[in-house]
Symmetry: C2
Subunit: 554 residues, 2 copies
């Protein structure tokens, strides 16, 4: 059944890459895909630059490091290190053997990585170019779609293709369909034709149909790619002489029921189906200067927390599949969190502070699309302030203690809003979490802005709508117990569907369409016998036997 | 397996209703739900005003007739004819026994009916009020959500509730979740709580949470509802003294492989998995006056075509489930179609012409969300003009003949654009079909506006992007055969998912979120063992046995 067994580790570094190479040419980096056929996570061969989760974990790491470790890089060219093939997409044997959960989570992480590439182009001004030197099929073309500029070699052979539907009876579902219609704005009937042609589209037709941005003869290919990359690099506002920081291995201790990081703890109670993620506020005051923050590097608290929280969320997704409910707690000093937020905001012109800000944004977005119920517990000693208050606003519910606990002399629990809550961290729908929350009463946002910096205690927070409910100490334990018993008793699937819909009120963007609409259709298809049954296309691919489809249209 | 066997007939009329009553009080109509427990379409009892497709077919008919037959009605009050219960939602035994296809299509039709109610409030100014006199649970509350104004009796008992998730392990998925977040704009954590409480929310809390618009004590209930209805009716612009037209039974002859209407033909080729829908243009010129059009009543060509095409589409969905590809043909005179469009446009102040316009819009929207591949064939003798050209723009692909056919002395095939194509028929995403089509090249729209009224022949139509491909006569048969063989060979599920994504490029609305996002999640859940397995909640409901859920979060 399960071909790829947990634990899956999302941490890596270039010296350990098996599938990617980085080469540098001044302000341009080449991110070269050269998948090790024998380097898959399971019992399959990664032929023709096809990929599995392991390949994507390295890609994600490379995209991240380019932003933090290489401020001098202003354009990144993704290309293939193999002759005659760019990338054959997700490995089909892997998909055929994967469980439903694995397929869904593989696609989710892949989507996030593609969006991180787009985020780098847009917000780090480290612009991605895709140099398609060979066939780019399925997820291979999806990788190209994530770039800002797609170049295709015109060698009468190389094509871009989305053959998932004719070949595998599934969708080009890791963002491809949505990017084709909403990013490339390909005419719908052309998109329909394109998605039906196994062999794809090449040359000037690919250009005419807006599937690529540029078609280059083979003879001029290498020079043209380099010239385009340097031209695009020249438009970036990234600093010329800055020194990157090193992303060292994160501090992490993995035990049976616990993962302990320097500022994040994950505790798992499998019997109850619960995990608790505790995030600790900064232990030290803000650095004396932006230079000092650079000196701290990955020990600078906002960056440390971003990295650790991200790893914790990914760990829970992949390695704690039967945990349905995650409690968020924080521990520390609210003013320390706000001071760090302000530091980031004031230094926003600095490339590194900008990176940290957008990284925190991406980590919070990972929470928004994680299929677990999140419940924030706001208690004395916590620091749900500014950036960390977003954890409460990202949660499906939040419970807050009114006043203090008997025998506990800490100050009453409070939420402290900061500027960060009103502009730093848009969700996938383009709105801040508070905007989404108060879609029906935008005037509340003005009230809340007036309370920036103030410690908002339980009753007031409930009154303002910042938390779901506030309880006195003598009710707390019972109410929480009842809530958790109830939540963990519900159908996990119904929770996933409900949360995916309730979390994203209001406008939709390409990003929410990918996660909300396209993903849901793909998940549906990933369960259908026509795809995964014994006679289904995904199961029979490569066997020489044609699939047999039930003809009923649903 | 199949509890409700085809054929399902979507035609009915008030004298045949088993579940609804209409009462009139001047400018207010009462649409009273009083479901006949023994009147279900399958082997289950429709207790507590629960409903199945048959109940919804009557509701759809009533909503439609109120618009056409009762121009004097300016407000419609939906209420229950039973004591102490408003509506228990979709019948759970029915859902438990239904096939996947039946569940999905039942929900789709129900969604369309709810949207038709909202369309009546918005565009016919026949405003719906829901008087919740008893518990409104699940689809019962969904019915209320479709109204513009929800009144709830405050009798310490009546509540609104969405118990699907805790009770049945499925979503409140026929629009409820999206209406809660996007129409009622309920705060997400309150929505989360609301969707987790089997017993729902009543009284002032329901009002505070924006779940209802008004709470009325039992003692004042009847008067308050009537007063509110008349007050809302007074704001309408519907005419006071107009006379409705009668919607007579449509002319329809059903044969084994054919349904013949007066202006629409459906021919089915089951061996090839194909159906052909042919729509005939008007046989007569436009009426001499708007009064004359009223005299024609349901024989007025645009209304006839709307009714027949709608029935044909619904028939194909429910009764020809294994037909995956539908060809659209038209037959007649393009200028006759455009003349009728212009007639409707010029008379837009007239209530009946307005109704016909919006009805055509709704029928075209049914095509957009139908899970069949639509292919338009534009040949000599066809009349893809104005309103009927929308069939080509709604199709996934369109093929056009260049010039004429040997031995056929009719004029070359042409598309003729009219004003209707630029403003009459928005899709669910709020854009016209041509706007959606040319999202990536809006300047093309200006070019096309300059061609209104001109017969655009094959090569030019292909050049302009109005059709997918144009072929000469000697290529036509082969190209069409290849296309159809290919299309019918693909996985029906992959086609459904692909079309649902490619048809709706660009912006999303509540409507597209319901069909695209929420529906896809519900369809996914409708296949999961936690809902429909032998130990699933939907199967075990009412048995006294608790469901057993697989705990894995996907």
């Amino acid at each position: 059944m399960t071909e790829i067994a947990p634990p899956i580790d999302y941490q890596t570094e270039p010296s350990r890459y098996r599938h990617w190479r980085l080469e540098f040419d001044g302000d341009v980096a080449y991110l070269i895909m050269d998948v090790d056929q024998a380097g898959g996570m399971g019992d399959y061969e990664l032929k023709l630059n096809s990929y599995d989760l392991g390949v994507d974990i390295e890609l994600n790491d490379a995209v991240q490091r380019l932003r933090f470790e290489h401020p001098e890089v202003r354009a990144v060219v993704i290309k293939s290190g193999k002759d005659n093939v760019f990338c054959a997409g997700a490995n089909i044997r892997m998909l055929g053997k994967a469980t439903h959960q694995q397929k869904v989570n593989f696609c989710k992480f892949t989507n996030e990585t593609r969006l991180a590439i787009e985020d780098a182009s847009e917000n780090s001004r480290q612009t991605y170019i895709c140099a398609v030197n060979g066939n780019a099929a399925g997820g291979g073309y999806e990788l190209a779609l994530a770039a800002d500029h797609i170049m295709l070699v015109d060698d009468r052979r190389s094509a871009v293709a989305l053959p998932e539907t004719p070949l595998l009876a599934v969708l080009p579902g890791t963002g491809e369909l949505t990017r084709v219609t909403d990013k490339r704005k390909v005419r719908r009937d052309r998109a329909d034709v394109f998605c039906s042609i196994e062999e794809g589209v090449r040359g000037t037709r690919a250009l005419d149909w807006r599937l690529v941005d540029e078609v280059v003869p083979n003879s001029k290919w290498k020079d043209a790619v380099a010239a385009r990359a340097h031209e695009i690099a020249a438009r970036s506002d990234r600093p010329k002489d800055a020194k990157g920081i090193r992303l060292n291995p994160i501090e992490r201790k993995i035990e049976a029921d616990r993962v302990a990081y320097s500022h994040v703890d994950v505790e798992v109670d499998r019997a109850r189906g619960l995990a608790t993620v505790t995030v600790r506020g900064p232990g030290e005051s803000v650095p004396a200067s932006v230079d000092a923050a650079h000196q701290l590097g990955d020990k600078f608290w906002p960056l440390t927390v971003a990295r650790e929280l991200e790893d914790a969320i990914l760990h829970l997704r992949s390695n704690e599949r039967e945990i349905g409910v995650v409690l968020f707690r924080t521990d520390g000093n609210a003013q320390g969190v706000l001071a760090h937020d302000d530091f980031l905001a004031r230094a926003n012109g600095d490339w590194l502070m900008r990176e940290i800000h957008h990284y925190l944004k991406r980590v919070l977005k990972r929470i928004d699309v994680t299929a677990k119920s999140f419940i924030a517990l706001i208690e004395p000693g916590s620091c749900f302030a500014g950036t960390l208050a977003e954890l409460a606003f990202a949660a499906d519910r939040s419970l807050m203690l009114i006043g203090t606990r008997e025998g506990d002399n800490r100050k009453p629990a409070a939420i402290t809003l900061g500027e960060a809550n009103f502009g730093f961290y848009p969700m996938g729908n383009g709105l801040m979490r508070l905007q989404t929350r108060f879609l029906g009463e935008p005037e509340t946002l003005d009230t809340l802005k007036g309370k920036i910096g103030a410690a908002i205690e339980g009753e007031e927070a409930a009154e303002l709508g910042l938390v779901t409910t506030a309880y006195e100490d003598f009710d707390w334990d019972d109410e929480l117990r009842i809530l958790l018993e109830e939540r963990t008793s519900f159908s996990p699937d119904a929770m996933t569907g409900m949360e995916a819909n309730l979390r994203f009120a209001g406008p939709e963007t390409m990003e929410t369409k990918i996660f909300g609409r396209l993903t849901a259709w793909q998940n549906w298809i990933f369960q259908r016998p026509n795809a995964i049954g014994e006679q289904g296309a995904l199961k029979l691919y490569g066997s020489g036997v044609s699939p047999t489809f039930a003809k009923e249209r649903v």
